[in-house]
C-alpha cells in the first residue's frame, strides 16, 4: 500500500468526507509533508473504489458544484487494519534493533 493510499484511507477512517476535505486532511495527518494534487487524489479514490475499499456515501450540490462523500467499506477497514499491523511490526523490529524497546 502506498503512502498516499494509506493516508487517504486514514482520512476516511473517522467519518465520510468529500474530495477537498480528504485533500486537506491528508495534508494535516502528514503534517504538511504529503500534499496530494487533485489528479493523484482521484486516481487513488478511483482505484480504492474499484477494489471495494471505499464507496460513495452520498452526493450533494454546494454552490452549483457536485460534492461526493466517500466512506470506508468493511474491506477498507480491514485493509487499513492490516497495513497498520504491518507498519507496527516494522516499527517494533526497528525499535528492537536500536535498543529502544520497552525494558
Amino acid at each position: 500500500m502506498t503512502e498516499a493510499t494509506f493516508l487517504v484511507l486514514t482520512a476516511l477512517a473517522e467519518q465520510p468526507q468529500h474530495g477537498y476535505a480528504v485533500l486537506e486532511d491528508v495534508k494535516r495527518i502528514s503534517e504538511g509533508k504529503v500534499k496530494l494534487h487533485v489528479g493523484s487524489l482521484y486516481a487513488v479514490l478511483e482505484r480504492l473504489a474499484k477494489e471495494g475499499l471505499i464507496e460513495v456515501e452520498r452526493e450533494e450540490v454546494v454552490q452549483s458544484r457536485l460534492r461526493r462523500y466517500y466512506r470506508l467499506t468493511g474491506a477498507g477497514v480491514a485493509a487499513l487494519g492490516e497495513e497498520m499491523a504491518r507498519m507496527k511490526r516494522h516499527v517494533s523490529v526497528a525499535e528492537a534493533r536500536l535498543g529502544l524497546g520497552a525494558a
Binding site: H18, V38, G39
Partner: protein
C-alpha cells in the same frame, strides 16, 4: 465562468470521456475549492499532475484491452488467421519446389533460403494456436517473427541490394501483426470459439488449397502438356492465373470472417489484417519496384493513412450506430408512453 475555471476545464478535457463523465464535475469542484482567491491560472505542479494522470489513463486504456473487449476478441481471431496464412504461404513455396523437382526433374522453382525455417516455425505456431497451451503460443509467435525477418533478409530480391520489394515485407508485417495480436490479453482460445468448428475448417481448407497450389500445378503440367488452359496455369513464374488464385483465396478468407464473426469483432479483425493484405496485393500485382523509387514510399504512406482512417471510421461508425440505437429507444419509449396516455383506464 471564470478564466481559471475554463483553464481547469481544458485540463480535465484531457481525460477520457468516461472518466470525465464520472469524476469531471467533482474534480472541478475540488480544484476550484483548492484555488487561492486571486489565482488566475492553474498551478504548474497541479497542471503537470492532471496531464500526467490523464495521459496515464489514456495509455492504460490503449495498451490494456478489456478482457472481453471487441479489439481483444478480434486480435484472437487475427492470431488464428495470421498463423494459418503464413504457414500456408511458406508450405506452398517449399512444396512447389519439391513437386517441380519430382515431376519434371528440373529446378523450376527455388524457395528462398529462409523460407524453410520460417515455414517450420509458422507451422509450430499454427499447431500451438490450434491445439497447444497459451504459454507456448506467445514464444512461438515471436520466434516466428524472428524467422520471418530472417526469411525477408535472405530473400534473393533483398540480396540484389537495390530492390527491396514491397512483397517481401508483407509476410513480415503479417507475422508481426499476428504476434502482437496473440500477445494481447484475451480469453483462452477465444479466436477458435468465435470462428467455430465450421469457420476453422473453412480456413484450414483455404490454407490447404494455397499451400498445395504450386504442387498441384506441377502435377497437372506433367499429365496434360497440350491443354491450353493448363498450359497457362503451368507457367513457372508470375502468371495472372496464379496471382488471381491467391487473391481469390484472400477474398475467401475475408468471406469466412464475414460469415462467422459479429459486426464489431469482424470490423476490427479486418482493420488489423488490411495492411498486410494490401501489401500482399501490391506484391502480387507490381512484383518488385525498388525501394529507391518514390512510388514505394508513397504506397506505404497511403497504407498507413488508410489504416488510421479505418480505425477512425470504425470508431465513428460504432458511435453513430450507438446514437441511432439510443434515438430508437427514446422513440419507442415515447410511443409507449403516448399509448399509455391514450388508452382509457380499465376501471
Amino acid at each position: 465562468m471564470s478564466s481559471l475555471e475554463s483553464r481547469y476545464r481544458r485540463l480535465l478535457a484531457l481525460y477520457p470521456a468516461d472518466h470525465r463523465h464520472q469524476f469531471g464535475d467533482e474534480m472541478l469542484g475540488v480544484l476550484m475549492s483548492n484555488a487561492g482567491d486571486r489565482q488566475r491560472r492553474p498551478r504548474f505542479g497541479e497542471s503537470v499532475d492532471l496531464m500526467w494522470h490523464a495521459l496515464w489513463r489514456r495509455i492504460g486504456r490503449a495498451v490494456r484491452p478489456r478482457a472481453h473487449g471487441h479489439w481483444s476478441l478480434a486480435a484472437s481471431v487475427v492470431g488464428v488467421v495470421g498463423s494459418l496464412s503464413l504457414f500456408a504461404m511458406h508450405l506452398r513455396l517449399v512444396a512447389g519446389e519439391q513437386a517441380w523437382q519430382i515431376h519434371h526433374s528440373i529446378p523450376a522453382w527455388h524457395s528462398p533460403d529462409g523460407s524453410v525455417l520460417a515455414g517450420a516455425v509458422a507451422g509450430l505456431l499454427t499447431l500451438a494456436v490450434l491445439f497447444g497451451p497459451r504459454g507456448l503460443v506467445i514464444p512461438a509467435a515471436w520466434g516466428a517473427v524472428l524467422a520471418e525477418g530472417y526469411a525477408a533478409y535472405m530473400s534473393p530480391r533483398f540480396n540484389l541490394g537495390d530492390s527491396v520489394v514491397v512483397g517481401v515485407w508483407a509476410p513480415l508485417l503479417l507475422m508481426l501483426t499476428t504476434a502482437v495480436a496473440l500477445s494481447l490479453r484475451q480469453p483462452a482460445r477465444a479466436g477458435l470459439r468465435l470462428l467455430g468448428g465450421r469457420g476453422v475448417i473453412a480456413l484450414v481448407a483455404i490454407a490447404l488449397a494455397v499451400s498445395s497450389s504450386m504442387a498441384v500445378e506441377a502435377m497437372l503440367t506433367r499429365v496434360n502438356r497440350v491443354d491450353k488452359w493448363l498450359y497457362v496455369t503451368a507457367l513457372p513464374f508470375g502468371t495472372d492465373v496464379r496471382q488471381a488464385f491467391l487473391a481469390l483465396m484472400m477474398v475467401a478468407g475475408m468471406a469466412v470472417l464475414w460469415w462467422r464473426l459479429d459486426g464489431p469483432v469482424r470490423r476490427r479483425a479486418i482493420v488489423m489484417l488490411v495492411p498486410s493484405g494490401v501489401l500482399f496485393l501490391i506484391g502480387l500485382r507490381i512484383g518488385g519496384f525498388p525501394v529507391d523509387y518514390p512510388e514505394a514510399w508513397v504506397t506505404l504512406t497511403l497504407i498507413v493513412t488508410f489504416v488510421v482512417l479505418c480505425l477512425v471510421l470504425v470508431k465513428w461508425w460504432e458511435r453513430m450506430m450507438h446514437l441511432v440505437e439510443l434515438g430508437r429507444q427514446a422513440e419507442r419509449a415515447a410511443a409507449s408512453a403516448a399509448r399509455d396516455e391514450t388508452t382509457p383506464a380499465a376501471d
